[in-house]
């Protein structure tokens, strides 16, 4: 069984936020919602200063606390490891949001648009009322991943069935693929490099792997 994960090569990220923009474009998220964002962490004191750019979002945990606490079963985990939300069941209680140690969930209580209260033509066309007052988060572009079997394509290899943020990354930071497949791009990256997972000590088995050095 596949377990789709994302690798993030922290050595390469330049903090350009192209992935953030691509995510917003692909998923039509409102202005105050960022399913994919890039942290800009500056450490040290002059002259010994370092900046690290860290893409974050839903980690699609193997043992997702958001799913366990959800009282309505709106949050679910697919066989391929992707964690999703059924907007038609979610009651918007916010329990998943306080259970997520990655601050990856959002609940929008009123429609907001880029230029005030009136949506642009694009925003009006893509507005989804089902997302109001319920939890939302990164889906790893599951709608694209779902096309893979039908089209005979491979997620993480073929752009058509790969998350938008991965496709858009200009520096080759993000990679997506099947952790269970030893020959997949992500398995090979993890075999060749040292990595960590954020807040791993909390037992969530996160699905984003941060590469920080070669082996």
């Amino acid at each position: 069984m596949a377990r789709f994960i994302m690798t993030v090569d922290l050595r390469r990220c330049i903090g350009c936020q192209t992935c953030t923009v691509a995510c917003r474009h692909a998923n039509a998220t409102p202005p105050d919602v960022q399913w994919r964002k890039v942290l800009d962490i500056e450490t040290g004191e002059f002259p010994d200063v370092r900046r690290s750019f860290v893409p974050v979002g839903c980690m699609h945990c193997g043992d997702p606390p958001c799913m366990h606490v959800c009282p309505s079963t709106a949050t679910y985990q697919r066989d391929d490891g992707l964690v999703g939300i059924d907007y038609d069941i979610c009651i918007g209680c916010g329990y998943c949001a306080v259970a997520c140690p990655y601050q990856a969930r959002y609940i929008s209580h009123k429609a907001e648009f880029a230029y005030g209260e009136k949506p642009t033509e694009q925003e009006a066309a893509r507005f989804d009322a089902r997302r109001m007052n319920v939890a939302t988060k990164c889906t790893f572009c599951s709608d694209r991943v779902d096309l893979a079997k039908e089209k005979g394509l491979t997620p993480g290899v073929d752009p058509e069935v790969t998350p938008a943020c991965v496709n858009s990354c200009i520096a080759g930071v993000l990679a997506f693929g099947d952790r269970e497949d030893a020959n997949s791009n992500v398995s090979q990256l993890l075999a060749e490099n040292q990595f960590f997972r954020m807040h791993e000590e909390l037992g969530t088995d996160p699905g984003m792997y941060y590469i920080f050095d070669k082996k």
Partner: protein
């Protein structure tokens, strides 16, 4: 982890915005209501006194649940809360609430019997579910500390004993002398539970901003919220002729301080996990450096 300077920004833990005073209201109403139901069972000397106490208890539990209902984004889908008893303590709380209300109302109607005990027991289970709801919130370090469960139980019993003591002073057929002893015991348990909870937070680390809320609160709580009602209880025991007045004051102060504590933990100390890096990545010709966990006490 490195203690080097870190740039500001939304990297350090920030206050969550999903649960506010309405969530705190659920824990306040649920704790006070189920605690009162428990002490009404064991301390009310007459059927009429039980009826009054039980109805007040149910009003508190119902009020707390109404607070939650007011908070959810899709209130008309509230029935969906019952869908996930396998792992969700919120579902379990909701499921327990149904027989709790039915049993307590039946006990009020029939004026006693086994239903009184069953209702009290269901109240304790409801209170336990509330503790587990906070424990399961892994994103909020002040809530996920395992000792929160015993703290929620202890403060629920203390609030219940406090309100029952105050009511017993004005209701005929009840035993304030017996209750004031129970209140003292509950206060001692709550003090112990708070100390263990706070020590665990200090030991395991907490977002600095959450600690900035809880540390000064703890100092005030131990004096005003604990010592004051404890002194009033002791005074009530020694000055028998004016005991009802001390009992009312002690009970109400124990009740108010429990609400104060829960509001502080749920609504004010609810800082999230933030972000952390176990190591800083290699950049250019540099080497791996120690990681950062900004905004934490350790």
């Amino acid at each position: 982890m490195s203690d080097q300077k870190i740039s500001p920004g939304r990297i350090t833990p920030w206050h969550q915005t999903n649960w506010d005073w309405r969530a705190a209201g659920n824990f306040i109403g649920g704790g006070t209501g189920t605690g009162l139901l428990f002490f009404a069972t064991v301390a009310s000397g007459s059927v009429d006194a039980y009826r009054i106490m039980a109805l007040i208890a149910l009003a508190f539990v119902g009020g707390g649940l109404t607070c939650v209902w007011l908070e959810i984004g899709r209130p008309l889908r509230a029935i969906n809360v019952f869908f996930h008893p396998q792992t969700s303590w919120m579902t379990r709380e909701g499921i327990v609430a149904v027989p709790l209300f039915l049993c307590a109302l039946a006990a009020v109607w029939f004026g006693g019997g086994a239903l009184v005990g069953i209702a009290a027991l269901l109240g304790v289970v409801f209170l336990y579910c509330q503790g587990r709801i906070l424990l399961a919130a892994k994103g909020i370090p002040a809530w996920r500390e395992p000792k929160i469960v015993s703290l929620i139980l202890a403060t629920g019993f203390t609030e219940g004993a406090g309100l029952a003591t105050a009511l017993a002073a004005v209701l005929p057929g009840t035993s304030p002398r017996w209750l004031i002893g129970a209140l003292l015991g509950a206060l001692v348990l709550r003090r112990l539970a708070w100390m263990l909870y706070f020590k665990a937070l200090e030991k395991n680390g907490l977002p600095k901003k959450a600690m900035d809320v809880l540390r000064p609160f703890g100092a005030k709580f131990e004096m005003i919220g604990q010592l004051a009602p404890e002194m009033l209880v002791v005074a009530g025991i020694f000055y028998g002729e004016v005991m009802p007045y001390f009992a009312v004051l002690a009970g109400l102060s124990a009740l108010a301080s429990g609400w104060w504590m829960k509001y502080t933990i749920v609504a004010r100390a609810a800082y999230n996990q933030g972000y952390a890096l176990p190591v800083l990545p290699v950049r250019g010709q540099g080497e791996v450096q120690p990681g950062v966990k900004p905004g934490w006490t350790k």
